[in-house]
Amino acid sequence: MSEAATAHGAIGYRGYWIAWVLLLLLTVAMVSITNPTVIVAGIAIKATIISLWFMHLKFERISLAVVVIACTMLTLGVLFALLAWDATVLFKTP
């Protein structure tokens, strides 16, 4: 068993169910809020909890976590930024 697996085994079930309660509370909070910025922040926090605890990225080697997070976030960040610019500049200019 690798070091990461040993570390993972030490989490116990409690950690998962604490993460579950946090996710439920965040969901309730997000449903009752209308501010898009706060909702986006809520999405980011929920995604972090799921990927770090449920998907065990927190307990994997840092190189794996960096590759996974950097690949997805950089690609999606560029895509979001370019499309948002395209939509706002090309379609909202009188």
Binding site: S2, E3, A4, A5, H8, G9, I11, G12, Y13, Y16, W17, A19, W20, L23, L24, T27, V28, M30, V31, P36, I39, V40, G42, I43, K46, A47, I50, S51, W53, F54, M55, H56, E60, R61, S63, L64, V67, V68, C71, T72, T75, L76, L79, F80, L83, A84, D86, A87, T88, L90, F91, K92
Partner: protein, 199 residues
Amino acid sequence: MEAILDRPDRHQAALFDTSWQKLMMWIFIIGDALLFGTFLPCYGWQRIAGEAWPDRTHVFHMNFITAMTFTLITSSATMATAVGAARKGDLANAGRFVWLTVLGGLVFLGCQAYEWAGLIHQGARMNTNPWGPAAFSAYFFMITGFHGTHVLIGVIILAITAIRSSMRKATAEGVELAGLYWHFVDLVWVFVFGCFYLI
């Protein structure tokens, strides 16, 4: 060469210190994340550039959608517990929690089918809907349909994993890989729920 193959850690990729199976699953997850990652920016583009979007509270039953979200999050927690049990060598308990996860997935799919049927009954189609721009229903059916397909595939994978666990044929890593996929499905729903139903 034989000496290398005989090494107990030959299946591990040195850089990531994980098995090749898990590494492949992560690469698949990154690829799949980018697939959904192209849908959501396009959806956002349409929201910014297109006609006024319908008021979500007039179209969706938010309490119902929130209950669906609760179900999926709970199924993720039961799956994580199953992985923990499998890691401890308790395959019988792992199998039970995987079955609970399957149940959560089936409830979610049933709710989604009910929601789709309700919207279709009100006149929503891929190319038209009674609430506003046609793109609204097109994006809705495409994005939630893709996600629902992932849930369905996940339920099938988990059912196979649960059966293998009860036959003592499953491995801890097999349960963990199935779990990784299931958590990814939950992760995607966090974005779909936030972007489509809340903003």
